[in-house]
Symmetry: C2
Subunit: 197 residues, 2 copies
Amino acid sequence: MELPTILSEAIVEFSKLPGIGERTATRQMLHLSNWDKIDLLKFGESIKALSELKYCQDCGLFSEVEFCHICLNEERKNSGTICVVESVTDALAIERTEHYKGLLHVLGGVLNPLMGVGPEQLSVKKLIDRIRKDQISEVILAVNPSLEGDATCSYLKMYIPESVAVERIGFGIPIGGSLEYLDSMTIGKALENKRKL
Amino acid sequence: MELPTILSEAIVEFSKLPGIGERTATRQMLHLSNWDKIDLLKFGESIKALSELKYCQDCGLFSEVEFCHICLNEERKNSGTICVVESVTDALAIERTEHYKGLLHVLGGVLNPLMGVGPEQLSVKKLIDRIRKDQISEVILAVNPSLEGDATCSYLKMYIPESVAVERIGFGIPIGGSLEYLDSMTIGKALENKRKL
């Protein structure tokens, strides 16, 4: 049985989301088709409104005004520390810990020449400008561990002034993790990163 | 860090979908926030358009016109068989097999008095009317196995004319399934439903 065009169009759109296959999209859109009209209109509008989101001109986080409250926070500005992350989601994860009191900087991805992502596609120049302008003395690269992430870190290190301490976030066993189930790469890194008790 | 209102509203809407928690919704909406404006508007519109979906007056499947192509198909109409399913999704699953050549009927759920679902909330009266009108001789209850599904089947049996054969879809080991991993209820049913080779 062929699905109505309205439905198949919604399925095509929905399956563009990461991790959503055609089957899940079909199930979800069939579920949506049972919703009240008013709820569907509200949902549709909320998706459309996402195109109105604004970002901080400095760090790339969400902000209704030109600069976000983190970049405007004097205490965080004076910390002399900037933490570089790949995405807004990663920045939010750092913020959620409430452990970090320095500035943030969203790169917008990692270098991936095969996918056409070079330094121009990322917020690299802005980062170097900020390091100079805000008199940063410590850069924490909280880039995820992957081939591209590692390459990005090496690349950034080259362009960051030598007077600035450049560090990468620690790798090892996650809290609650178990050696039995972790991959050898992680365990290897954890052994490398051992610390005196 | 607080999320912008636009984003948190989209997250609230998105997490109303079945199986989507706040975390997944956040991740998906953050992903959406990177989409081009034109794609977001298209996605939003496709969700809103779902409120325009039309259903067949007889069986409850999708149909742009009053009656769907299954209900209008003379061959299927003359089969004298009607297959009762809970939802449009289940009806689509039956159609996908290409094994079934009779009529379909979407109940719209199963009896669940605790959740306020009685016979009036389901398409029960319409089913009985169709059985009479279309001179149905065989009703296949393809209702899913659950307490409520079983109760619904017993209820329907009472109201279907005695001259009509009422059957329930077969339960047993699914193809590709393994006794080792199946629950005892399924294996019990499979033993009950053994067939001569």
